[in-house]
Symmetry: C2
């Protein structure tokens, strides 16, 4: 595989011409111009991503990256760390929310152990890519080494390549990791130039005391490491998580292969923010899905220039919001590919519109 | 069939107890409490509607009511009136946006001629329930007679009953009718106590002069008829449309049978507002889907007490937004029915939470 730097350089701008052509086709279809609103925006963007290739969705998958976090020692989560591994088993058994929703939309679920505490042995169905048994506590030391940070990103890229080679043409990222809203919020503080207390959220539902500990852990980590935003690899190593690095890599890899990737909530948003910091062109290859309850999520919307497709007060993660967005995206694509045109259906155009009413 | 008044009296309050029981079950499932946000609200509401019966979605359908409007004589639409019938043929051929989206979500599409100009003869696939060849021009006379208004509502109720008898357990309403944002906006003015100029929209895309004509037509009609909000049947006759009355009836009929009905944009919103005026309990049986570009739609949200599930700048009608909401509702139901519980998956509960960690 090429180096991270080489891969980043290979990422191409999307084709705005293809987007314009797609809009022209939509304007000939049997509806008032622009009346499908953001569904048309979705098709324009997909067309720009795919370039010369047809806009279609044949095979969908969500990659769920699981990891543990040393910072849970600071008492930042409402749940014990063992829940990360227990939920991985729940995913493998098909019993979690993401499994139910993925079945609903016809997407495959891939579970990646990128750095949990637990030893899953050779358990079937799990993608075994453990970098270490959880990060170190970022409030005391760097979360991971630079080498581990690079490995997490490269692993994500490799998995994106494998997904694209397997025929997936609509991808999504999700995650599971007790404590991971803490590093994600820390990253949003760095990239949004905001203070922890201003964007802190309750994650899985931490109480008021836990919230104070969470703010304190992030403030301590930021003071200790003084992360430089323009050095995303080092920032990831200082205050990140293995799943955040792997999602950043997955987003980079799918963009390099010109396949759209849907972003879920706060933590995958932090991965996307890192990916865009590595290569700003990536913002045109990703889709924001939903607006999380976690305020820190806003930094992702600001930096990506995107508005979420919906706002359902979700705060579960796992990729649940991203998979719900697959339905909308696929619906928009089906309309684009299947809808009649004014000509084909013999429908009159607008009043006083010589282009439509007098055209051959 | 019973009279309209008898049917309205038979509508029962939803079962709040069932909603509470559903929430208790969701709180035992493998996710932080309330972390699925509005998906949990959907399940609570469905459970309250179904009462003792299981919450599930087996068969879905959208009913698209087509009608013409005498008020197009005032130059209120960007498209000629013949487009109503042309679009009905497009629906029957499966070429319109609603067909593509319904195929996508696995819903059946039923097209009802409730009052178009066109003579479709015995054309197959169309539900022939024409009341008249379009309404009269409400800016000059009453849009329809009281008898026609009653027939439109009763037809809607009958069709809802047929749908429920055929096994549909998730219904949606949509419409097609050149000019129909004008009567719908007029109704929203009456029920929202607002002026036409404050909520007027461009419908299919009328220009500035057309917009003035549209405001003028509504103001003229409101001055001419002075509709009384507490007399919805007469108000429908004065300034309504056949599809609006039929949708109101369909909403009434599905509520009476305790089957949820999803509302689309401005025009079906006007139908829902009428239905709620007939029987306020109906608000608990309907689901708002999306927020239309048409400002008048707000009156529906205000009177139903609902927040739309998404806002995608749609302004097409046909039931397109309602059908997109079917996906979300069905996804919420699948999570509810298929997701593991903390106990069944052997997952630890919250830290310091004796109820979860010590329960048998």
């Amino acid at each position: 595989m090429l180096s991270l730097e080489e891969i980043l350089q290979q990422i191409q701008p999307v084709s705005l011409d293809s987007g314009v052509q797609a809009q022209a086709r939509m304007d000939s279809q049997t509806k008032p111009p622009a009346s499908l609103g953001r569904l048309e925006e979705i098709v324009r963007r997909l067309s720009a991503i795919h370039g010369d290739k047809p806009v279609r969705v044949r095979k969908k998958s969500v990659y769920v990256f699981a990891a543990d976090h040393g910072v849970v020692q600071e008492g930042v989560s409402a749940y014990p760390a063992e829940v990360t591994a227990q939920m991985v088993l729940n995913f493998l058994n098909g019993g979690a929310a993401i499994n139910c929703l993925a079945r609903h939309v016809g997407a495959d679920v891939k579970i990646v152990d990128i750095g949990t505490h637990h030893d899953f042995k050779n358990i079937e169905g799990l993608i075994h890519r453990k970098i270490a048994g959880g990060t170190q506590n970022m409030a005391r030391t760097t979360a991971m080494s630079i080498e581990q940070a690079r490995t997490s990103i490269q692993t994500g890229i490799e998995l994106a390549y494998e997904a694209v080679d397997a025929g997936y043409d609509l991808l999504a990222v999700g995650e599971m990791g007790i404590g991971n809203t803490t590093p994600a919020t820390a990253l949003m503080c760095v990239y949004g130039s905001v203070n922890p207390a201003d964007i802190i959220g309750r994650g899985t539902g931490v109480d008021d005391d836990g919230l104070k500990r969470k703010i304190n852990a992030i403030e301590t980590a930021l003071q200790l490491h003084k992360p430089k935003p323009d050095d995303p690899l080092n920032t990831l190593a200082q205050i990140g998580g293995f799943e955040i690095g792997a999602m950043a890599g997955f987003i980079i890899g799918s963009a390099e292969r010109r396949i759209p990737c849907i972003i879920d909530g706060l933590i995958s948003g932090a991965g996307a923010v890192l990916a865009m910091q590595f290569q700003p062109l990536i913002r045109d290859y990703i889709f924001a899905s939903h607006r999380s309850c976690e305020v820190g999520h806003e930094t992702f919307f600001k930096l990506s220039g995107q508005t979420p497709l919906f706002d359902l007060d979700l705060r579960l993660g796992e990729g649940t919001g991203a998979v719900l967005a697959m339905q909308l995206i696929e619906g928009a694509v089906k309309i684009y590919n299947e809808m009649a045109t004014f000509d084909s259906a013999g429908i009159s155009g607008k009043n006083q519109d010589p282009v439509k009413t007098d055209s051959p």
